[in-house]
Amino acid sequence: MSAAAAMSDDLDVFRAEVRDWLQKTFPPSLKGRASMMLPDAGRPTDPDFLRWKKAMGEKGWGTPTWPKQYGGGGLSREQARVLAQEMNKIGAWSPIGGMGVMMFGPTLLEYGNEEQKSRHVPGIVTGEVWWCQGYSEPGAGSDLASLRTQCVDKGDHYLVNGQKIWTSGAQYADWCFCLVRTDNTKKHEGISFLLIDMKSPGIEVRPIKLISGNSPFCETFFTDVKVPKENLMGPLNGGWTIGKRLLQFERQGLGSGTGGPMRGGESRSLDQVAKEYVGTDDKGRIADTDLRARVASHMMDMRAFMLTIQRAMGEAKGNQGPSATTSIMKNAGSRIGQERSELLVEIMGHQGLGWEGEGFTKDEINTVRAWLGGKATTIYGGSAEIQNNIIAKRILGLLDHQ
């Protein structure tokens, strides 16, 4: 038997095991309720959810390819794909997510020292410890490297003073990975990557109410916050490289995950929704011909995007992690997702413009909220314009303007 055939036999055995385990373990009551995982939903308390989380955490299957020594699943990419396929088949979803899984964990595994990895990876793997991202500041958005939150060396500890903004889920987070300024004389080379316990005295979190009515983001204030020195990740003044790497993981996650094209609200395909709200002609086509053309055009873009994600997965060799092409996916995914939201609201007419209360279905309200909230997808994680800069410079080799 060839090596490849032996491997595919092994995969078949693994698939059978996975299927069996999922059958026994995934609570059917959670089917289709992955929105429990959205950052502003808070910590789920549903007993079925908690059981499912515990089981997945023990297997390490919420972080399937992470090393076993820290509690990860230790699966190969092929096995992880099998796991994802089997979960998809029965409508199961990972109860272990958030920024720890998507962004911080992978970066920690690459840049953290042994002690930091042993301390922080297991909590992410089990879903017990939630992380938030201390990156943007009121004066440092797209120009992130101009951040000013001060971190001063006080001998046996660091002292942090300043303000972060757009810290997703800070009101529920246990820890914050934070970019801080440790040298005021340099821009990029004066930034360090610091891990801060959110229970430290001197931290204040204020949720920000958005146009969607939700508060997924916060302002986070640091006033004389003491941080132990072992919480510096990577070299002093070497945080920018680590911070950028983390952003690549973020773009990758945003392009393909919850920030991607399907983002809350109406989950049916656009044509089904259009048929319901707009009606059909005698040939069964969407009655409004202009709308029909735009729905088709959008659905083709969506298909092209999904095919591109599949292609990228097929092409990814080994465990190299995300490349500069994640900028393409982030931009395309967020644009196509916004187009879907715009079309949904248009298709639903006045029913798609409800704010709350009687007269609107839950799906309609959620669609409106998702449309408004989705405006953030081309702003956060590096705006569409910043992604275009990255594509132009890193992929296409165009130079900076002088």
Partner: protein
Amino acid sequence: MAVLNEEQSMIRDGAKSWVQERSPVTAFRKLRDGGSNEGFDRKVWAEMAEMGWSGILIPEEFGGTGLGYLTLGLVLEETGRTLTASPLISTALTATTALLLGGTAEQKKTWLPKIAEGKAIGTLAVDEGVHHAPEKIALKAEKRGAGYVLNGKKSFVLDGGAADFFIVAARTSGTPGDKDGITLFLVDTKANGLSRQTVKSIDNRGVANLTFANVEVGGDAVLGPVGGGFAILEATLDRARAGLAAEMLGQAVQSFETTLDYLKTRVQFGQPIGTFQALQHRAARMFTDLELARSCVEAALQAIDRGADDVAQLASLAKAKAGDAVHLMSNEMVQMHGGIGMTDAHDAGLYLKRARVQEATFGNQSYHRDRYATLLGY
């Protein structure tokens, strides 16, 4: 780029170096300026056939390699890059597909080995109006004795001037617009009553309009079921669309890369114009669109090879997205080159002209968006 096996990689690399050495854009320009009526160079086609490209879809028993549509797509992508004019699309892709899907044993035995050797040129004659509309066939085929008599017209037939045989979509019953009642015929181009007139389009390829005046064919000329030819016609067209989309993709990629080089070298205001953000962001969007289009083209070709049941959807998707991409790239190629891009001496115009003809062939973007929606039931 799709994950390729060793053979596919070899063919792709071979095509890449061949087009650069033997068929750069200067070769196409020379052909155009030489006033060729056929639209391609027979010596160059013989070379391509020698490398096995004319027989990539043809099974070994008929003298080909049977490597499939993705492999042919890889070659088409490379020939598209340099605007290589050849009967790859008309013959190696479209006519060959029609023979494979609907041909009788005799028809296959007669024509496939000759195509593989590069000794026969065949083409599909489907449209009759200014737009692609395969169900609107009016060309009439009337039963007479054991055979049929064909009367009517066909327009914009690829390599119609050079072809040795046509696969003609004719109507044996019903009225234009009906999908039933269409029958495919294999007609020798020397048949009595058949005349062809080559047409000079902007891309300088050898298209022709055909007139059938009492053209008599035998019963053995029928390809596929009488009156039920539409399914084979559509399946043939879908494979042709996916292959043509691969050529368009290659051409779009080259338009983009040539333009990107220009952004890096053209200096204005004391710096390369590619340092200007207005141009950088357009380039970033173009690159993104090319990546999305590539996914569609490769998915369609792979689906055909796999015998998947959503070939029709994916072929329409590929043709539409490759059409959008080649449209945008060719326009931006002219615009970003500025005045030089308007000159006949520059290649931009050649890419622009070819792009529009490809877009119109076998259904433009608007046709395929409508078809995609119909296929998905809305």
